[in-house]
Symmetry: C2
Subunit: 531 residues, 2 copies
């Protein structure tokens, strides 16, 4: 739609757009309402949101450098587009059920709130058949699930996906993996690994090991249950990270009693079969070439496995050409992921210095994308950032600044009669790209510094009439003031650094920049000594 | 909450966070669903979203340079927190009514979807009493209103607010105005004006002009209606931009028949009263000092007006100290805005080259912020970006690039056997910060260039075995290829520019940068000749 043709519509159609809030809060006589959140929902206050925004910004840069374009879809969709019943019937989604919104136009009817970004992507791909293909898109936004709320588990959370739609080539899968690697590097991480497997190899391994394709009966707590042997085998393999080789052997065999004393019934496979599966899990997971060699030697005879191995070989070739090191992307046969969902390669990224956070970024190839909307299949591959856990991991690893304000310099108000001087400095600093505010609260000087401390503002500018008369201002290094109590004192080179310096007003910008650089320098040192 | 203490929770609580979509689309046998949007909702495809994201990014930078911190609140809130009934009863909000969400825990109960960012801000300020004050925050996110959908009018739209909570000082108001000015400048606008008025002066003007504070009866289309004379007077003044001085005189007097022939009944004020109001509207609106002088001369005798004039004088002093020119921020007595909502200064920004878009950024001071939640008043001042209309205006003024992809270089695949060369160049370009993709679709070369054209990718890299053997690659200037059809040919200096150059592989990065710079240079020229 051209700007001008839209412009014509504007006076009428956009009339209300920039209006602010309704007069609701103006009604004087109403009883007070308790300010509170809904269960399972949260506010993200500046301290966490500044860190999250910075993280998201860096991730976007990497995605866009790889040619992924942003796409936004509504939070509300028709219920059948989301596939409500399926979701509600399906307990294996980990997604709970869909939030329903009252349809304002049709009594008794409902809308649904999106529970992920993939179904909307499928809708868009089906609805706009002439979108260019391959379609590289990323999407970041909140999704909603009626889930049992708990600490760290919310009913509204941010989903951050990237996908390539319309290419069956393994280059696409490799692009996603390389994007995952470069994203984690851009976030300052070095010791991480993207572990890659292939569902075809997993299925081939079941054949190769002779896992029977049948239903069986088992007695669980007195009552008998039917289970699919192959599905249950995959579910057991998926527990490798938690239970290790011996645990897997028990789960595949007669069953396992965990630390808590709970007993998990076993799949009941024959010993020879279990041996073969363990050999499969033991395929080396360091150098990609080495993994491929071992896989060919072990399962080259199996057609399905060979197909999967060839795909991994293709991915290895592309990753190598892109310069992705074995240390950052490796093949690992212990990765299962999304049983019902993925159809080819699967990926998951783990942080070697914070394994307790599990997978922080994961995905794979899936061909079911548009099945809900059309018969013609469209190949797709993608991955999701685990925004919440990745952010917490970065905070845990001290890779994000903890700030409650973007302000770098707080100009304190010593002498209100000098206001214009304060304002002029603020304008000057801002023009130089240095976030600055002049304190707008009361006069009490202690309160002004306390305010800066509360917000984690690193520098306070202090000046009154005398200083201005001398053409000087004082810069107080609040960051050091806070940190010095910790280890700063231990650095030889620190001791020469005064936490307050008097500088020439004319050199304000340079002096502020110098102090910020010094702060970042020591922040680095502190991090590396802690790490 | 410290990273480590949260880390402890993770294995359990974050288990599902990074999971991708549910297996919904895997169910094979279900009937196909029609891919479609709900009425009043829209997808934002890359072409528009890339432009919007860039705009939002620039706005954020300015807000953060002024020390505003981001705050995120849920899209869903308790209905009474949003004040459902008030909103539904009140037709003057322009906001329609609230979307209701089925409460999954309590049959028959509902949540509400936020309809703006100000009520959630009020909740946060009341719920976290120890937030630092003054609290400078910005918030950007979708809001929802059950409104009659129409072209350009949606039920989900982006709200982008900045507010300073907890300061009654006029410095705060001036900070908001300066933020508005610098934001519009950062977006490449020069010819715009932030028009500032003060509700106190408006009210004072009504007293000064002797507008009776009473209810009156009028016959409208046969039936008689009661109206508040002062409110109706303000409503009339608010129409100044559309009807001008003569129209205002008619509306305040006996009534006005517009172009369409519709008759709007008049407020019925006495001629002397109308004269005084017109004199008020005629207060000069160029130099701020001049406006203040004229206001003092005209209404200095009125206490309420004088209070408002003193506030504007204060704002003028701060704006001048911040270096905000009269051309960008002026006082204008014809601005009314948000009758029921604002209590002091009010602001609105208009684009002088695109006045048809109306106010693209507006706000003011309001003291009713937390009335819904507590008795203690908290002063607040803020403004909202009219995201949709501002974006359309920028597109109309050709101030945003029209791109469907962030990709700057498409590496075409002439010879699949050279894939590793292509991939290595992609990695090299990306490392240099140049968004690049290797074509992942079919081999057909024409299709590859068509793909680049569809996406508005500015450069195609073309190379096969021979070129690589010679250590060369070809760069095709697709941007010029598209633009040349327009006016490029008219530039003398353009004619020497070939649209395809063969360059040394070793100088790839420099050559790409050079071509991008040339493209931007001519893009500028085209814009300035069109503007």
């Amino acid at each position: 739609m051209s700007g001008s043709s839209r412009a014509a519509l504007l006076p009428r159609t956009f009339e209300d757009a920039p209006q602010r809030a309704t007069p609701v809060s103006q009604k004087p006589k109403q009883p007070k309402v308790e300010p509170r959140l809904l269960r399972g929902f949260r506010d993200i206050l500046p301290e966490d949101l500044i860190a999250r925004d910075r993280m998201i910004g860096k991730v976007r840069e990497v995605f866009e450098a790889h040619g992924f374009a942003p796409l936004a879809t509504p939070a509300l969709e028709p219920l059948d587009v989301l596939g409500r019943t399926d979701l509600e019937d399906d307990s294996g989604t980990g997604g709970g059920s869909i939030f329903r919104v009252v349809d304002p136009d049709e009594p008794g009817a409902f809308y649904g709130m999106r529970f992920d970004m993939t179904v909307p992507l499928a809708r868009v791909v089906s609805q706009y058949p002439d979108l260019p293909r391959p379609f590289r898109r990323y999407a970041v936004g909140p999704v909603y699930r009626v889930d049992k709320p708990g600490p760290g588990r919310f009913r509204e959370f941010l989903q951050f996906d990237l996908d390539i739609v319309g290419s069956e080539k393994m280059e696409a899968d490799a692009e996603i993996v390389s994007c995952m690697v470069e994203t984690l590097q851009a976030l300052g991480l070095e010791r991480f690994k993207v572990r890659v497997n292939n569902r075809k190899i997993l299925s081939g391994a079941l054949e190769f090991a002779g896992v029977p394709d049948e239903q069986r009966e088992a007695k669980v707590g007195g009552r008998s249950v039917t289970y699919d042997v192959r599905l249950e085998t995959l579910r057991s393999l998926d527990k490798f990270d938690r239970v290790g080789f011996d645990g897997i052997a028990e789960l595949l065999g007669g069953g396992r009693r965990d630390e808590t004393g709970d007993f998990k019934f076993g799949v009941g496979l024959a010993d020879g079969c279990i041996e073969k599966l363990l050999a499969f899990l033991r395929v080396p997971n360091r150098a990609r070439a080495e993994s491929l060699e071992a896989l060919r030697a072990l399962m080259g005879g199996n057609a399905l496995a060979s197909e999967g191995i060839a795909e991994l070989a293709e991915i290895d070739a592309v990753l190598s050409a892109l310069g992705v090191a074995d240390a950052h992307a490796a093949f690992d046969m212990t990765i299962v992921r999304g049983l019902a969902y993925y159809t080819g390669p699967v990926f998951e990224a783990v942080l070697l210095d914070a394994p307790e956070f599990g997978s922080v970024f994961s995905g794979g190839r899936y061909d079911g994308l548009v099945q809900r909307f059309q018969s013609a299949e469209i190949p797709a591959v993608g991955a999701s950032v685990g925004v919440d856990r990745l952010l917490v991991a970065l905070q845990h690893l001290k890779l994000v600044e903890k700030r409650s304000s973007p302000t770098e310099v707080l100009i304190t108000v010593m002498d209100p009669s000098q206001r214009n001087q304060y304002l002029a400095m603020a304008a000057e600093l801002r023009r130089a790209g240095i976030a600055t505010e002049v304190f707008l609260g009361g006069r009490n000087f202690g309160k002004q510094l306390k305010y800066a401390d509360r917000l984690g503002i690193p520098i306070a500018l202090i000046a009154g009439g005398d200083e201005f008369a001398r053409g000087e201002v004082a810069l107080k290094d609040l960051w050091a003031g806070r940190e010095i109590s910790k280890q700063l004192a231990s650095f030889e080179e620190w001791r020469e650094n005064p936490t307050q310096v008097t500088v020439a007003r004319a050199r304000l910008i340079d002096e502020v920049r110098a102090m910020r650089e010094r702060q970042r320098h020591f922040e680095q040192k502190l991090r590396s000594t802690q790490g």
